[in-house]
Symmetry: C2
Subunit: 357 residues, 2 copies
């Protein structure tokens, strides 16, 4: 039985989007390939509220995280973390000998503009990384407000991981002064895994041009230059994902509409949060609760593993807590094309299995 | 009109293989994901004649080239090149500050066991890279014979790019003492672009464990450890490609059969070479001509661009020469699931357009 996925990616993908993966092959050096990327670029600019250059990377989102922090750090990166994917930026920096410091918030608490200001005022840093939506914590950081601080530090390049939020929450890249905003397809965008996307500012490009040892496959400049030349890539990209993404972006922008889509995500998030507060506790500070995934403390003492096994028999899959929280919490994603009725049905099943009233 | 692709990748993909891309999504941390990778691993071991560990990388083949040479070079890499993709190894090494020297053969001539022996006898190198099938030159290097030399140098890790040959020519990895044999899906394997594959020896793994600064997304050890643990990946892989590859490998191994498949490639290669010798000249030394792509010198003085445009109207696409050879040569690929009748029809069209007799 195919399970409905309420895990924070991969998400269920609509059949008509899946079908686009099976588009017959084209040469990656043809006008057709150029046109395909150009269409994707324009639609992603709309979705991201930006005029910046759009690039794709045939990799997971982690690939563009590495591309960004390795290519843009000349002095030292300030890595702000509110969970596992924030920590990943730091691991990536260390693995590439990129000078970096790690600023962690208390569990469930956000990265704040004040924290960022304090760190930047030391003058030690030329890159800031922030996780927009931390799937381990179910927490959304105030990337717009942080951006207003970063704007005051013209030498600082601002990198934002919006892997699990782009398409499920409004991210105004230009107004937030985000230099690289990166995401991947298998989360709120509603496309299968295998492709990452990013917007890249001229400031990020100018910085990267001065950084040595940027590597090859994930060299920001190598990719940007080729895209700027003719909307193509230095090596063969995943055209199946490009066809599916191009199609799904039209559905998101023209069919559902951006505001409708963000509103639907907010509505689903509110349903889960109210339900969670009734029966359990939220992990994250509610003022910063995520629009796309909710982390719920398992206050029952029941086994999360057993819950998920029983849900599996009934056609659903949720996620356990991340890392140390494996049995202490569980996570319900409400992203991409998820419908309210499916979410309500899932919550009913959990109530039934655990005898919640 | 959909053109039949005779370019050296991406290749045309069978409709039933394409359909597998559209398989509904699964969690990448599930038993189902583990089973999928395990099946792929076993089939690739069969195709590659090896007991080594199989890994996939959601990237182009270039991604695994970088993973290999960056992770395995502790002392210095000897890069042997017979064209553009051999040169790429050197660019990758330089872009990562990996010490490397570049040994180029004369145009159209192979990397020989003697060249490799002479270089290794200096004692300066602990990595050798060789391109098995150079698509720019239409040339296949004697990787088995080179492997017999490398065997005599137990500290040397042997990296082979078989991007455009795996699935179209017999590569006996273990008998050839190849430590990392890498490929990608959109060439002779007959799957769309977006995924790379490799076999990795224990010797390569042991070496990489001693190398620092291996990066993150393309860190060989990070990937190998996760695959060895439970056939999963550190970050979300392209499951659409995995479903398609799993299915296509069964077709290759069980339906067509490996020897039949390699024989068919040889037959097609012979047809193109005999035809090319009748009307033009071969670029590569014929003793080392490729099984999967033929580079033909354009001795007519006619425009290759115009030829390809006219072929396009008739439903075919070939490649021009690579780099400097753009108009001086053209390339016809004969790889993956290509049938003899289609190849013969293409050659007839070229004869017709250029008035060859």
């Amino acid at each position: 039985m195919k399970k409905k996925l309420f895990i924070p990616g991969p998400v269920d993908v609509a059949p008509d989007v899946l079908e686009k993966l099976a588009t017959p092959q084209i040469g990656h050096r043809t006008q057709e390939a150029t046109n395909l990327q150009k269409r994707i670029s324009e639609k992603l600019q709309t979705l991201m509220y930006t005029d910046n250059t759009i690039i794709l990377s045939t990799s997971s989102g982690t690939g563009i995280m590495e591309m960004s922090v390795r290519s843009c750090t000349k002095k030292r990166a300030a890595i702000f973390s509110v969970g596992a994917f924030g920590d990943r930026w730091y691991k990536i920096a260390k693995a590439n000998n990129v000078p970096a410091d790690h600023f962690k918030s208390e569990p469930g608490e956000p990265t704040t503009p004040e924290m960022v200001r304090e760190v930047l005022e030391t003058g030690k840093y030329d890159v800031v990384t922030v996780t927009h939506n931390e799937t381990s914590a179910g927490l959304m950081n105030p990337v717009y407000e942080i951006g207003q601080v970063i704007k005051e530090f013209p030498d600082v390049v601002y990198l934002v991981d919006s892997v699990s939020s782009l398409g499920g929450a409004k991210i105004e890249v230009d107004k937030s002064h985000i230099d690289i905003c990166l995401s991947s397809t298998q989360k709120s965008l509603g496309v299968p895994p295998g492709l990452a996307v990013a917007s890249v500012s001229d400031k990020a490009i100018a910085r990267a041009e001065t950084v040595e040892n940027r590597g090859y496959y994930l060299d920001l400049i190598n990719v940007v230059n080729r895209v700027k030349r003719n909307y193509q890539y230095p090596s063969t990209p995943s055209t199946p994902h490009m066809w599916a993404l191009d199609y799904q972006l039209s559905k998101i922008i023209d069919e559902e509409g951006l505001d409708n889509r963000f509103d639907r995500h907010t509505r689903l998030a509110n349903i889960v949060r109210e339900w969670a507060k009734k029966h359990f506790e939220l992990f994250a500070n509610e003022a910063y609760a995520s629009n796309t995934v909710t982390t719920i403390m398992n206050t029952t003492g029941n086994s999360v593993k057993a819950l998920n096994e029983e849900l599996g028999k009934r056609g659903y899959m949720i996620s356990n807590g991340y890392g140390d929280l494996k049995e202490k919490a569980f996570r319900i994603a409400h992203m991409a094309d998820r419908k309210e009725e499916d979410l309500l049905a899932l919550l009913k099943e959990i109530e039934d299995i655990w005898g919640l009233k």
